[in-house]
């Protein structure tokens, strides 16, 4: 009788496909995973603690660094919470600009996901194609606010910059281009048998599990729960526009892929509609000189590309928050990983982990 034993494999924090500095301590039997213990916190920067010493405006650049793939949404989460607490009115054009940037950012974020996910599965080229299209979006943002990743674009009461001349046309061109380009992605990826083999039936969880783990975003919708904060707890001016919430059927990673591709299409649809109605106007509302948020407690969530990005503010009436807590969707979504990985193959680990779509900057706060 051969003596067999389980092996402890330490994956990360430096590993090509843990998407940053996630560390997984895995017990494996051959290549079959018996137990996983995710170790996080390698990128913890104490944003919540820092925020207690910062004014509301100063917090905004810090939020850029949480979910660095979709910083616009992060900007919006904190700005939105502050505005709601203060009861400010935001000019229409500012809201439209915010929606355009947020939806473009969602497209960019999902493109990064598609690209890196295919890279995890071993395909190189889709990654670069996705990044090319993302590059267009980043260049648009660069023109708009002067940065490609850490935008610091939104302000309490509006946005910092108005769209430069011709910018909206460029956005429209991009939307039209991207709508066509999606077909290329489907040609390249969606029909690829190896990709289908790798993703079909992988990482399935039930609706009950998803709710219990408080998954959000595509990770929840893939189980068939049509839950999108843009519609169900509508913020900004999303209620004015038509878009659908794609949901999954089987709940496997393949479904997640199709879901995110559809979300890209829906986001483009929203951007197109916004471009149709946006008018000239002020981009900054009436805001007091020093932002003093009235006493109270406030929680609100916005739909980031990864799920419900919440902002819980406790204010004591000063110009700095007493406590600022971010509900970071990646943090919640990652929790289900040990459950999903039990009994899976190591190759599936990468496929499942990638499917969750985590951003470590956000997981670690």
């Amino acid at each position: 009788m051969l003596r067999t034993e389980e092996m402890l494999l330490n994956m990360g924090p430096q590993h090509p496909s843990t998407h940053g500095v996630l560390r997984l301590v895995i017990k494996i039997d051959g290549e079959i995973i018996r137990e996983v213990d995710p170790v996080i916190g390698y990128l913890h920067r104490g944003t919540e603690k820092l925020a207690e010493d910062l004014t509301y405006t100063q917090i905004i650049p810090y939020t850029d660094r949480l979910d660095y793939v979709s910083a616009m949404t992060n900007n919006y989460a904190v700005v939105h919470a502050t505005e709601k607490l203060m009861g400010l009115e935001i000019p229409e054009r500012a809201e439209y600009l915010r929606m355009i940037t947020m939806e473009l950012n969602r497209v960019a974020s999902h493109l990064v996901w598609v690209g890196t996910y295919l890279l995890d599965l071993g395909a190189m080229s889709p990654f670069l194609y996705c990044f090319q299209d993302r590059e267009t979006i980043l260049n648009l943002f660069n023109e708009l606010c002067g940065a490609r990743l850490t935008y610091n674009y939104m302000r309490v009461g509006g946005v910092k910059w108005d769209a430069p001349d011709g910018w909206l046309q460029k956005v429209e061109e991009f939307v039209l281009y991207m709508q066509k380009e999606l077909a290329t992605y489907h040609d390249l990826i969606s029909g690829n048998d190896i990709f289908l083999q790798r993703t079909r039936g992988i990482g399935i969880y039930t609706k009950e599990q998803a709710l219990s783990y408080a998954l959000s975003g595509s990770n929840l919708r893939v189980t068939g729960v049509p839950w999108d904060l843009r519609q169900h707890q509508s913020y900004s001016l999303y209620h004015q526009f038509q878009f659908e919430i794609p949901i999954g059927e089987k709940g496997d990673v393949l479904d997640k892929y199709h879901l995110r591709m559809q979300e890209i299409a829906e986001s483009l649809k929203i951007v197109k509609q916004v471009l149709g109605v946006i008018k000239e106007g002020p981009i900054m509302g009436k805001v007091p000189k020093v932002l003093r948020v009235p006493e109270g407690e406030f929680y609100t969530g916005v739909e980031s590309p990864r799920g419900e990005l919440g902002c819980h503010i406790v204010s004591n009436g000063k110009n700095k928050p007493w406590r600022l807590k971010f509900r970071r969707p990646s943090f919640y979504n990652l929790q289900i990983l040990p459950d999903l990985l039990k009994g899976e193959n190591i190759s599936n680990l990468v496929a499942i982990l990638g499917g969750i779509d985590i951003i470590l900057g956000e997981v670690d706060g």
Binding site: A123, Q132, I194, N345, S347
Partner: protein
Amino acid sequence: MDVFFYLGPIILMLLLLGFVTYAILFERKVIGWIQNRPGPNQVGPWGLFQTIADVLKLLLKEDVVPGKADRSLFKLAPIIAFVPAFAILAVIPFTETWQFGDFAVGLLYYIAISSITIIGILTGAWASNNKYSLLGGMRSAAQMISYEIPLVLSVVGIVMTTGSLDLNDIVLAQKKVWFIVPQFLAFLIFLIASLAELNRTPFDLPEAESELVAGYHVEYTGFRFAFFMLAEYVYVFAMASLTTCLFLGGWLPLFGLTMIPGILWFLLKFSLVVFSLFWIRATMPRLRVDQLMQFAWKVLLPLSLLNIFLTAIFKEIPVLSSFY
């Protein structure tokens, strides 16, 4: 003749190194173009010296042997992996005259010797005393042994047709029509199996960067690592040559264009095969281990048996038998 006998291998070795150098560059360029970028273009004109610079860098690197590794095995492994890769080139007929060892069982020799490399890989993986490399080595062993079988069986059809294991005879038997036409099924099986033998995408599980970091050579640095890489690319060279000989008519010209020398024809076909290897690499994701095994045993093996069966039948059919 005697001079050529002794100098030939050295020339071949140098040629081979040249090939490897430029195959790597070519691969990077092709993948670069596919991904809308120019590829390496900084070192030398058109990036021509890029690989040379890379190799120099590798040679200058510190030679690290992990403390817990089995030192002697660790050092031996790259050599075991590389030597067979070079040895198999002896039987490849580049042209009618350009061949080093013309013996009757050339094909068998190729297949037998090439499977020794797996021992080197497994040794290296085991000796590194690293879990990732162990997993990579195990995968590699399982994969290469599994795919050897369909690889060999797919060639059986050709052997049946020509009645010889001598690669020269096989090439010459393709004067009328290349074997890619009558043996198309075998060609597909051979191509897939050879991709797997070469550990190239979509079968690059032993190195599976996103899972096992670098697989069996994760602990290797410097020139030992270079040896593994060299072995890999020599196999690309050998496998592309073999494919050319078996299915694409070796040095035989197309359309009766005999004024173009045979070696050029060979190189042309050979480059086509190499290009398609790179092209596939740039497009495909990676298979999963269990699917990979299932694919070998459940799909490729029955198919190659079917191919043998069909060849046997076609040989008996009067009209078709001239092709078989």
